[in-house]
């Protein structure tokens, strides 16, 4: 459907037929107003055309600059430092050196180095870092860190992170609790990049929530470094609920079975998202008693959480849970019935038999649910 497509107050035309004489301004004033609007139109059009002209001109210049940058990057990537003792310089042409005074060229070169660095590892990546430092590009990133604009600050942090400027981590650490979401996200990413699991210590101090997007980013980053034992007990008790959720994800991803009881206690957390994450976590880290713990809290929970519990039972349920699961087949909600039936089937032959023997299994909807489950088991 098209909305907001009525584009101009052409309706004003309507008033002209009825407007009292007092409101109709003199003809020459009207002409001035129209001329002003036309001038504005011409100004916008001229600006647009100039913008496009200069953009295409810049693009042409950028093509040339890109060749120079690429050459420089290629030299750095394939640079073979024979003398391991002495720090040698990557050869930089005079033209490139001269261009380094131009901030637009510097920005382009930095972007190119960053892009290359993201895609390569090993000695070549180290050489790129060497080139970055040799050209003093970090100096400009540090200057940008002081910018009053959040996006310049965040971009500078990202730049220092990609270029592995570990020496500035103490400078970046305070930003992990910055009021601006993007700045603190980049700073948190930086600290984890530099210190791996140890870097997660910012979780002790942050007062702002960590978004799901940031949690995905951090987990992705951590998956690239060898797992190290870290103490996450404290985070599971954090006053910041998003920290607890993240800690639960960490516990699940790194199979921290020793935290089982602490995770169980999260089932009583006041924040529903924490409780939900705890259920997901217990789905993969369970003992013989876990299902009893879930069942004991089942009635107190919302439908969303109840459903998550029953889905978890598909993994952790055992024969002792059959009676409970059978009772859910009488639930009014079909989604609950389907999940309970799946949980019963996943227990094994005894679960499936109980499901088939249920008094309502021949009638709708259990008959259809049963057919689907059999199909799923056969697949």
């Amino acid at each position: 459907m098209g909305t907001l497509f009525h584009f101009l107050p052409i309706n004003l035309l309507a008033i002209t037929a009825f407007l009292p004489n007092a409101l109709i301004i003199k003809l020459h004033y009207q002409a001035i107003v129209i001329l002003f609007i036309i001038c504005l139109m011409i100004a916008l059009l001229t600006y647009m055309l100039f913008y496009m002209y200069f953009k295409s001109k810049h693009e042409k210049k950028h093509v040339k600059w890109r060749i120079i940058s690429d050459l420089l990057i290629r030299k750095a990537v394939f640079y073979d430092d024979d003398d391991e003792e002495a720090e040698t310089l990557i050869p930089v042409t005079k033209r490139a050196e001269k261009l380094m005074r131009n901030k637009h060229f510097r920005a382009l070169l930095t972007a190119e180095i960053l892009s290359a660095k993201k895609n390569i590892t090993g000695t070549s990546a180290e050489n790129l870092i060497h080139l970055y430092q040799q050209l003093n590009l970090e100096k400009y990133a540090l200057k940008n860190l002081k910018s009053r604009y959040w996006y310049i600050k965040a971009k500078a942090i990202q730049e220092l992170t990609v270029m592995e400027m570990k020496e500035f981590q103490t400078l970046l650490y305070p930003f992990t609790n910055n009021h601006n979401e993007l700045v603190r996200m980049e700073a948190q990413t930086a600290i984890v990049q530099f210190q791996g699991f140890e870097g997660l210590r910012f979780l002790d101090i942050i007062i702002y929530p960590i978004s799901d997007w940031q949690q995905i980013k951090l987990l992705q980053q951590l998956s690239n470094v060898p797992p190290v034992y870290i103490d996450i007990d404290g985070w599971l008790k954090s006053a910041n609920s998003s920290v607890v959720v993240f800690a639960l994800k960490l516990a699940r991803n790194y199979h921290r079975f020793e935290l089982h009881d602490l995770i169980l206690s999260c089932l009583d957390h006041p924040n529903p998202e924490v409780r939900l994450q705890a259920i997901h976590c217990l789905c993969e880290m369970y003992t013989d008693e876990t299902s009893d713990q879930l069942i004991s809290r089942f009635l107190k929970e919302s439908f969303r959480h109840q459903l998550a519990m029953i889905k978890a039972m598909q993994n952790i349920g055992s024969e002792k849970d059959i009676l409970f699961l059978l009772s859910l087949l009488d639930d009014d909600n079909h989604e609950m019935k389907l999940s309970a039936a799946r949980a019963l089937a996943s227990i094994g032959k005894s679960g499936l038999t109980s499901l088939q023997d249920h008094v309502k299994s021949a009638g709708y909807p259990l008959n259809e649910i049963l057919m689907q489950i059999k199909g799923e088991l056969a697949a």
Binding site: A14, L44, M48, Y51
Partner: protein, 475 residues
């Protein structure tokens, strides 16, 4: 003062106030759009969407694509959907009782077989005849649902019932999506920590004359025909200016049915799509917002300005007229269903700003314009030549053109899809011609929509498309 003069004065000053308010709205829309777009672009400049593409933690998404008589292009369209960059994805094609060979073609092309599938009717729909999955593990993401014909809203409700994931994206099956469209649309649901994002919309762009190969957009071209070209300008204005501005205020009422993502849980709680309205996309968003407002739950409707979805615009006046007629009826039906919210402070910004804006400036604008134009014609025919009147008309037209040029400038400064200077000049020419050639037709279609609604004619109106294949050959 006689009572006749008094009534005339109330009328004229009323319209004057209305026009001034509308003008102020346009100025505010322009400025809010600038700030929202700038924030988005700054934020987006260092976002790496690859993180989401490869993560197992990414939210699972179901893509719902209703298909009715799409036999000619369905195989390619589905292939395009299956190739989208997203990990946790299921693609659900809902065959809405097609009379052609849509289902047979899908079965043959994707090696489908009928499975026992319990369709949990959380939303009431027309009966489902069967659910199909593929023998081929390559197409494991694909689910095809065959159902009795019930219209787009009914088909989408079936899709919501069949979907297994927390979020779903509804798309028109003949739209072309960018490969990273889902990654970008999923992000708003993940980044908000204080409000629940209940829906996210994306920009729809005009694909006429663009080069499409294998269900993918290869080259962006400005439409060659006048009608699609003028709609290109309309879409730029609507999506880059208006929707971005309303997003800034968190007052967006519409997510295009062609491309939008929704929180499935809220959709089900709200009762799904309303099959009794032709404006099911807008009605659902309004109902979702109303649901959240009534529960005092913090929420947000997001919008992504990136050009992610490309669609074919009507290229004949006949089809365009049907489309605009339907849009008008959809707007009126939605406003009528939710009239309780009109200037109702209980609904906050929704009731005090968004709803009244739609009522006064979306529903009433064409009516006022139509009545005004008729009055003007009568005045011109019966009265003396009035140069002052002529100048006011010219002034009003130039404000409209200025607004369109501003929209083109926003496009150039942001996404700049039409890189050729000539194309930009062509768009400017279209902006000049639009109020004379195109706009009166749109107003007339809206008036016909009002009349059809009064006569209780409530058909969807067939949308015949030329198809991208034809466009490709035309290159």
């Amino acid at each position: 003062m006689s009572w006749q003069t008094f009534i005339l004065h109330v009328f004229t000053y009323g319209i004057l106030l209305y026009s001034l308010l509308l003008l102020i709205c346009y100025i505010l829309i322009g400025s809010f759009s600038i700030s929202e777009t700038r924030t988005y672009l700054n934020k987006n400049s260092f976002t790496d969407y690859r993180v989401l593409a490869s993560s197992t933690e990414a939210p699972s998404i179901s893509v719902l694509a209703p298909a009715y008589n799409e036999g000619a292009t369905i195989i390619e369209n589905v292939r395009s959907l299956l190739s989208l960059h997203y990990n946790n994805l299921e693609v659900i094609i809902i065959n809405d009782g097609s009379k052609d060979d849509t289902l047979e073609k899908l079965i043959n092309a994707y090696d489908l077989f009928k499975v026992d599938f319990f369709v949990n009717e959380q939303l009431p729909t027309k009966p489902v005849k069967g659910v199909y999955k593929s023998h081929n593990p390559v197409y494991r993401k694909l689910i095809v649902v065959d159902k009795e014909n019930g219209g787009k809203a009914d088909a989408l409700n079936v899709g919501v019932n069949v979907a297994q994931n927390n979020y779903y994206v509804c798309i028109d099956v003949d739209c072309v999506l960018e490969q990273d469209a889902l990654l970008k649309l999923a992000k708003p649901f993940l980044e908000n920590t204080t409000q629940r994002v209940i829906a996210a919309g994306g920009v729809v762009r005009i694909a006429n004359s663009c080069q499409i190969e294998g269900g993918r957009l290869v080259k962006v071209n400005l439409a060659k025909q006048f009608l699609p070209r003028v709609q290109t300008l309309e879409y730029i204005r609507a999506f880059l200016l208006s929707r971005m501005a309303w997003t800034r205020l968190n007052g967006l009422l519409l997510i295009s049915g062609a491309f939008g993502a929704f929180d499935r849980d809220i959709v089900i709680k709200c009762g799904g799509y309303n099959p009794n309205t032709v404006g099911e996309d807008m009605e659902l968003v309004v109902r979702m917002r109303r649901y959240m407002e009534e529960r005092n739950e913090p929420y947000r409707v997001s919008f992504i300005p990136d050009p992610l979805c490309w669609t074919e615009a009507p290229s004949t006046f006949k089809i365009l007229g049907r489309q605009r007629n339907r849009w008008t009826r959809g707007t009126i039906e939605t406003l009528r269903i939710h009239k309780k919210m009109f200037f109702n402070p209980r609904y906050g910004l929704l009731g005090m700003l968004s709803y009244p804006y739609w009522l006064f400036f979306e529903f009433l604008a064409p009516i006022i314009e139509f009545v005004g134009t008729i009055g003007l014609i009568i005045y011109c025919l019966t009265g003396p030549v009035n140069w002052s009147l002529f100048m006011i008309m010219l002034g009003v037209l130039s404000i409209g053109i200025l607004y369109s040029i501003f929209a083109i400038m926003m496009e150039v400064l942001t996404y700049n899809q039409y890189r050729n200077k000539k194309d930009i000049l062509r768009l400017v020419l279209v902006a000049v011609l639009e109020p004379i050639v195109f706009h009166p037709f749109v107003v007339w279609s809206a008036i016909r929509g009002n009349i059809d609604l009064l006569r209780k004619r409530n058909s969807w109106g067939e949308m015949t498309r030329q198809g991208f294949v034809t466009e490709k050959k035309a290159q």
